[in-house]
């Protein structure tokens, strides 16, 4: 039970951060893809720099997680086609909906019920990937 609460609370925090940063805004995503503001680049850039430094320190000092297990990070297998092609398909959808998966749910909470259609579409897209997966180049 207490374990469930920690994920819900982290999610709530995430929803608030994404809302207040305006990273969930369709307009901010348009601004980004039109190179008309530094805001989104600043957010992603400073998030990644913070992440790089902290993950380096976690590895360097062999820090442990809440269960007492030493934290490890899995390397992703190096493939080109799936990451690049999949990435482009994702990007097309990202710019069309102005939201990536996290923000889709945050926006639903903000009171945009149309996001339910986006979620339905995303489930359909995920299902389609599962069906045609073996026929796609990876």
């Amino acid at each position: 039970m207490i374990k469930s609460i920690r994920y819900i609370l982290t999610g709530i925090l995430f929803g608030i951060i994404m809302s207040k940063s305006e990273a969930v805004s369709w307009y901010r995503i348009q601004e980004m893809f039109r190179f008309q503001s530094f805001h989104m680049y600043g957010i992603i850039g400073s998030a990644v720099i913070t992440g790089i430094i902290t993950i380096f320190l976690i590895k360097r000092y062999g820090l442990k997680d809440i269960n007492g297990t030493t934290i490890t990070f899995q390397d992703k297998a190096l493939q080109w086609k799936r990451y690049f092609t999949g990435g482009i398909i994702f990007g097309l959808g990202w710019a069309l909906t102005g939201a990536c998966p996290g923000p889709i749910f945050v926006l639903l909470g903000q009171g945009f019920p149309v996001m339910l259609l986006v979620i339905a579409g995303a489930l359909l897209g995920t299902y389609t990937y599962g069906v045609i997966k073996d026929r796609l180049p990876h």
Binding site: I8, R34, V48, G51, G91, G93, A95, G102, L107
Partner: protein
């Protein structure tokens, strides 16, 4: 008094240099809980929960181990609700004048909200196009994120923070796709 001052401060839109590290903190919090930050995998979990595994092997996996991520997702919805009801910014979104102009040329009017009600308000349900855009956009997000093995959270934040080349390839793809949609397809769609 102090609480109100703090609340007023939080209600302002957050600058990028506060937002980025805060997002990284979410990733680190999940890492500390022995998990990893990636939102799009929830779509696979939901498909499995709905019984997709009966027909498609891709959905046969230990989805019960992913319940924590669904809780995170539920929290994100609640967080959006809290932010819009009690922490909303005092003014309209400060969008760059150039973007407002560009969108105007596409007949999309800037209304100062998070997303244009013209495209994401309930009124869109009256037209076929109003249904097609969110469903098609969602479809591309779902298909693309699973094909690429992650989305903005899994690749751009978690992957790049761990210096993963595959994530850099994926993020490059994200941007190419976004630029194609914005600059080539938007003028055709809108």
């Amino acid at each position: 008094m102090l609480l109100m001052t703090i609340l007023d401060y939080i209600r302002q839109p957050w600058p990028w240099y506060a937002s980025g590290p805060a997002i990284a903190a979410i990733m680190l919090l999940l890492v500390f809980f022995g998990r990893s930050f990636g939102v799009s995998s929830n779509f696979r979990t939901i498909c499995s929960l709905a019984g997709a595994g009966k027909k498609v092997p891709f959905f046969q996996f230990d989805y019960k181990a992913q319940y924590w991520n669904l809780l995170f997702l539920a929290g994100a919805v609640a967080g959006g609700f809290i932010a819009s009801h009690w922490l909303s910014s005092p003014g309209a979104l400060q969008l760059s004048a150039a973007t407002i102009r560009d969108l105007q040329a596409l007949h999309i009017h800037f209304d100062g909200l998070t997303a244009p009600s013209q495209l994401f308000g309930s009124g869109v349900l009256l037209t076929a196009k109003g249904w097609i855009i969110p469903v098609a956009g969602g479809f591309l997000v779902g298909l693309g994120s699973r094909y690429a093995g992650g989305c903005t959270s899994g690749h751009a934040i978690s992957g790049l923070s761990n210096l993963q080349l595959p994530s850099l390839i994926a993020v490059t793809g994200f941007f190419i796709g976004g630029l194609i949609m914005t600059h080539l397809f938007y003028p055709l769609i809108f």
